[in-house]
């Protein structure tokens, strides 16, 4: 396989290694695709999950609240006035128990340790220290939409 002219062989060698190098790029590309596929998408960045449909506004009487299932972070939507809604977390800030809505007193009651919150999420009594987080909520064509 010896060539009479050394330069030709050299050029050939360079081309061989160049083409091998290009072909070797397949490996990192495949590895990149595989690793980015296997990386679990974080729940905060799921595009559809940011706006949650919390049911029709007309089915919720003024002054009442509705419990909305949302994975590990359920919340209440309250109809404060004719066109105004509030979304308040349904998780007690004390020990993560799920709160109940008390229609008579317009408060959230914790079944675990008797914590209570007013309808805006402020602590009224019991062991919890922090108020309930609120989520921005709006009404779109009679549908309550909550952004978490």
């Amino acid at each position: 396989m010896k060539d009479s002219e050394g330069t030709d062989l050299e050029r050939r060698g360079v081309l061989i290694w160049l083409s091998r190098g290009f072909l070797a790029l397949w490996a990192p590309a495949a590895a990149g695709v595989a690793t980015s596929f296997l990386k679990a998408p974080s729940s905060e960045h799921r595009p559809g999950d940011k706006a949650i449909r919390a049911g029709a506004l007309s089915s919720l009487p003024v002054g009442d609240a509705r419990f909305v299932h949302h994975g590990n972070d359920p919340f209440f939507v309250l109809r404060v006035s004719e066109g105004q809604v509030l979304a308040v977390s349904a998780i007690c800030t004390h020990m993560r128990c799920v709160l109940r809505w008390d229609r008579e007193t317009s408060t959230f009651q914790c079944p675990c340790h008797d914590g209570s919150f007013d309808r805006k999420g402020n602590v009224l009594g019991g062991p919890p220290k922090k108020p309930l987080p609120q989520y921005p909520a709006e009404v779109r064509a009679d549908e309550i939409v909550v952004h978490t």
Partner: protein, 374 residues
């Protein structure tokens, strides 16, 4: 002795003295990836050098390419399928959300799913073409019976693997395709009850879906691997098929590996092109009380369906026997057509084969339009 002393200096030699590297590399030849047989008693370099000096036919050339290409697609299916299994949840409630998560949120999720889809489609087509090629080139003659039977069974196993995979997304088309396919399989006398036993019921709820999943990701892939093993093992015993048009030029292992390498590149390119240009997105979520009007079994079951519909005047047991009998005859063809060369009997089988193929194609056509006529 000399190779031993030489080996002490290199990493290869270090490994060589601890594991049988030649045996590990010759494992590749078990599945046709390396056409040469390596002498596992010799050190790797020596065994490879010896194999290089031998003239070797290449798997990766038309028309022998069908076998190795389908095995490469099988490897692709295993790789992409394993990746999809990282996200898939085999329950009726979670299956559809999990596949939409793959398609919507996971990086390259669409690509991996589409490559899996298209690999499966091509896999089945190539295996079918391989059986047809074996038939018309008489590659089931004395000595090659095992090769033939392995090829037929590989096609059948791949079809079942394809069938079980269709239900998994739990979308409308997958769900109703499976319902229509069960209509065909339930009518088969022996295979029908076995199918019912394996999938564990007629309803397609979570318990059945989980069984489809296990059949799809464990049982049939292992069966396919075993069949590929038997195929390549038999080919090593009886030799590769002779190709008349092939030039007499000596081929080496190096050329064979180069062919294989090119084949992989073209295959990856082809799969990516199909995945990007002709994506097959998931249908809407399956609704067990709403049958879409175009619910059909998969293409390979259209002909049996049409046959069973056409023979609806016969008792049910007889209708199911006919497709099974055709399969049985195809499977034991090497023992029916024992004539070597181009005798009258071989001619008869050829004609029968053409009739069967054309008839199968026509029935598939009829099966496709069966629903419209109703």
């Amino acid at each position: 002795m000399e190779s031993n002393r030489e080996g002490k200096r290199s990493l290869l030699g270090w490994l060589e003295s601890r594991v049988n590297l030649t045996e590990i590399v010759s494992f590749l030849s078990v599945f046709g990836l390396l056409p040469a047989e390596l002498d596992s008693r010799k050190p790797l370099r020596e065994a490879l050098r010896e194999a290089m000096s031998q003239p070797l036919p290449s798997y990766a050339r038309w028309p022998r390419v069908l076998g190795i290409l389908s095995f490469l697609l099988f490897l692709f299916l295993v790789a992409t399928g394993t990746m999809l299994a990282f996200y898939y949840q085999p329950t009726a409630e979670q299956a559809y959300p999990s596949v939409t998560l793959i398609a919507r949120d996971v990086a390259f999720g669409v690509l991996i799913h589409q490559v899996h889809y298209w690999s499966a489609a091509l896999f089945l087509i190539l295996l079918g073409m391989r059986v047809i090629r074996f038939f018309f080139q008489g590659l089931y003659a004395r000595g090659r019976e095992v090769v033939w039977m392995a090829a037929v069974l590989t096609f059948v196993a791949a079809a079942i693997a394809d069938l079980t995979g269709r239900l998994l997304p739990y979308d409308a088309s997958g769900y109703w395709t499976t319902v229509r396919a069960r209509e065909v399989t339930d009518a088969l006398p022996i295979l029908g009850p076995i199918t019912s036993f394996l999938v564990g019921g007629n309803g397609l709820d979570s318990t059945v879906l989980t069984r489809y999943y296990v059949l799809h990701i464990a049982i049939f892939p292992i069966l396919l691997l075993l069949l590929f093993y038997i195929h390549f093992s038999s080919v090593r015993r009886v030799g590769m098929s002779r190709v008349e048009a092939a030039p007499a030029a000596k081929r080496s292992l190096r050329v064979a590996m180069y062919d294989l390498f090119l084949l992989v590149i073209f295959m990856v390119g082809g799969l990516m092109t199909l995945a990007v240009l002709f994506p097959q997105p998931f249908d809407a979520v399956a609704n067990p009380i709403l049958t879409p009007p175009d619910a059909r079994p998969p293409w390979y079951l259209l002909a049996p369906l049409a046959l069973m519909e056409a023979l609806s005047f016969l008792p049910k047991i007889l209708r199911g026997v006919i497709p099974e009998a055709i399969l049985a005859v195809v499977l034991i063809l090497p023992f029916l057509d024992r004539e070597s060369g181009s005798g009258a009997r071989r001619m008869l089988f050829r004609v029968l084969g053409i009739v069967l193929l054309v008839g199968w194609g026509a029935l598939t056509w009829i099966g496709w339009y069966l629903e419209v006529g109703r």
